[in-house]
Amino acid sequence: EPEVTQTPSHQVTQMGQEVILRCVPISNHLYFYWYRQILGQKVEFLVSFYNNEISEKSEIFDDQFSVERPDGSNFTLKIRSTKLEDSAMYFCASRDENTQYFGPGTRLTVL
């Protein structure tokens, strides 16, 4: 069964550093999403992406965040200058006609 994959599974970084989280969506899906989940809290929408551009973004998705689909298979989330409060699980999802399928997540720890 096709699935969304994410790398790395765990990323540790120093405050102020840039990180890139990578996702490989399901191959025939056209809509892509990033979410985050701070430990013990609910899943929060960050951004949706379609046709090589951002469709919607939340207030969390400020100028330090960017997304890119650099080739036909990868979908990346870049955090330019990480802050302590960026520590969270980051989930990528891709969508067929009706349903979003989530990846296993990347645990980002900012020290």
Partner: protein
């Protein structure tokens, strides 16, 4: 986006049927209802989706009354491994920029 309301937590015993109800009074005509399951430190996993009446798959059933203002996820004969958080989401899947809003979900705890 329709706001959803679910119980914060539920307890059950192995082998019982569990029904989790979600209220979505402001559901729009084009909105679908989708349920996800999440284990700690894992991504949400799709369980079932419906628009109206009843939908059944190999893991659950989804009951949606005619007014669509609520829905009930039914898990038959739960096991310990069904202990998880269950989320009800409502949204228009026809639009590309589907902004998914997760509520707090229902934390189901299955006891032996």
């Amino acid at each position: 986006l329709a706001k959803t309301t679910q119980p914060i937590s539920m307890d059950s015993y192995e082998g019982q049927e569990v029904n989790i109800t979600c209220s979505h009074n402001n559901i729009a005509t084009n909105d679908y209802i989708t349920w996800y399951q999440q284990f700690p430190s894992q991504g949400p996993r799709f369980i079932i989706q419906g628009y109206k009446t009843k939908v059944t798959n190999e893991v659950a059933s989804l009951f949606i009354p005619a007014d669509r203002k609520s829905s009930t996820l039914s898990l038959p004969r739960v096991s310990l491994s069904d202990t998880a958080v269950y989320y009800c989401l409502v949204g228009d899947m026809d639009t590309g920029g589907f902004k998914t809003i997760f509520g707090a979900g229902t934390r189901l705890f299955v006891k032996a």
